[in-house]
Every structure is written in structure tokens, then in C-alpha cells.
């Protein structure tokens, strides 16, 4: 079974702190994604990566950065957390192989910024 794990289920941080959200997948997937989910807004894509050291902006990258130093790990970084970044963060991975378009999600990290 594909497994996508996220470092924390719940996280509370203070405004201005640097926050790292870690995501690890165990299926050698090339593609990894970070979404945030807010009531009434659905899931929005923050950043994605097609390969190691490669990153692309999604729809709402402002205030975030990412790092992909190893294939299995994709980190989301909030350089200076703000209260409007309080949200549920979901990581996902997907293979690039033909006919393997299923995306696998982690359990989510609920981040509260005070």
C-alpha cells in the first residue's frame, strides 16, 4: 500500500515563526504536491514538484516555499507564519507512469497560527 505521511497531525505556532511541514512517501513517486484546505474554498494547490530539486508554483504560493532534496520527501516552509495561514495542509504524491494517475494523500496537518 502506498503510504504518504506528514510529520504532524496538529501544530500550533506563533505569528512570525518559521514553520516546516514535512511529507514523506514510500512509493518512489516522481510527483509531489502541497495543498491547503479552508472551509468554503476547497483545496487549493500551493506548490508541486515533478522531480528532485524541482519545484513549481501552484495557485497560491505567496508566503510559502518548498524543498525537495530527496525523492521521497517534500517540505513546505512558512518563512514567517501569519494568522491567515491557519489551515489544513494536505500533501499528496503521484507516479508519472502511464495509467497511474491516482493521487495519494497524507492524513493532513491542521496548523493554527496564533
Amino acid at each position: 500500500d502506498v503510504k504518504v505521511t506528514q510529520s504532524s497531525r496538529y501544530l500550533v505556532k506563533r505569528t512570525g515563526e518559521k514553520v516546516f511541514l514535512e511529507c514523506v512517501q514510500d512509493m518512489d513517486h516522481e510527483n509531489m504536491f502541497w495543498y491547503r484546505q479552508d472551509p468554503g474554498l476547497g483545496l487549493r494547490l500551493i506548490y508541486f514538484s515533478y522531480d528532485v530539486k524541482m519545484k513549481e508554483k501552484g495557485d497560491i504560493p505567496e508566503g510559502y516555499s518548498v524543498s525537495r532534496e530527496k525523492k521521497e520527501r517534500f517540505s513546505l516552509i512558512l518563512e514567517s507564519a501569519s494568522t491567515n495561514q491557519t489551515s489544513m495542509y494536505l500533501c499528496a504524491s503521484r507516479s508519472s507512469g502511464s495509467g497511474t494517475d491516482t493521487q495519494y494523500f497524507g492524513p493532513g496537518t491542521r496548523l493554527t497560527v496564533l
Partner: protein
């Protein structure tokens, strides 16, 4: 990237009834996927239908795809309380950032025992 839009936003039914959710999208696609999300959890893949398919079944799930109308529907038959969740569609078109799955706001299904 293209997004699917689910309809209705919320649906409340009794256990044993069928639940139908709809999805519309705007451009051509290679396939369309449906996902389910239990409250406060990650999304789980349910079913994928390719652009050259019109209907697909998986257990109590039936998905249809009408590429001429750019729409899809998900039918859950004989619903159970455990089906209570949010359901999302995700159209996919290959190629660059088009190959990203973009999710809408989902349909929140409540199945009452």
C-alpha cells in the same frame, strides 16, 4: 490547470437511499477521478474514468462521463451512514501544469441512519 465543480454543495439522505453527485469541467480531459474525504482527514481515491469510457462501476459506486457535456456523475447506491463524507471530482489533462489535479469545493454528503 483545470478544476472540477461539484454539485450540489451539500446532500442529506436517509440510509438505504441512493446519492447522486455531479461534476462539471471546462476543457478536454484524459480522465476524471473521484475522491472521498472523511472529516478532518486526507482524500482517498475512489474511481477513475478515462475519456473514452462512458460508465464505470466499483462496488456500490457508479460513475458516468459525458465528454460532450463536460460532466460526470457519481452515484452511490444503497447508502450507509459510513458514506458520510465530502466527495470531490478531479479532471485530469496530461501535459505540464495541466497534469495537476485541481479540486473543487466538493459535495458534502450526510447519510442519516
Amino acid at each position: 490547470s483545470q478544476q472540477g465543480e461539484e454539485d450540489p454543495q451539500a446532500l442529506s439522505i436517509q440510509e438505504g437511499e441512493n446519492a447522486t453527485m455531479n461534476c462539471s469541467y471546462k476543457t478536454s480531459i484524459n480522465n476524471l477521478q473521484w475522491y472521498r474525504q472523511n472529516s478532518g482527514r486526507g482524500l482517498v481515491h475512489l474511481i477513475l474514468i478515462r475519456s473514452n469510457e462512458r460508465e464505470k462501476h466499483s462496488g456500490r459506486l457508479r460513475v458516468t462521463l459525458d465528454t460532450s457535456k463536460k460532466s460526470s456523475s457519481l452515484l452511490i447506491t444503497a447508502s450507509r451512514a459510513a458514506d458520510t463524507a465530502s466527495y470531490f471530482c478531479a479532471p485530469l489533462r496530461y501535459g505540464g501544469s495541466q497534469g495537476n489535479l485541481i479540486f473543487g469545493k466538493g459535495t458534502k454528503l450526510s447519510v442519516k441512519p
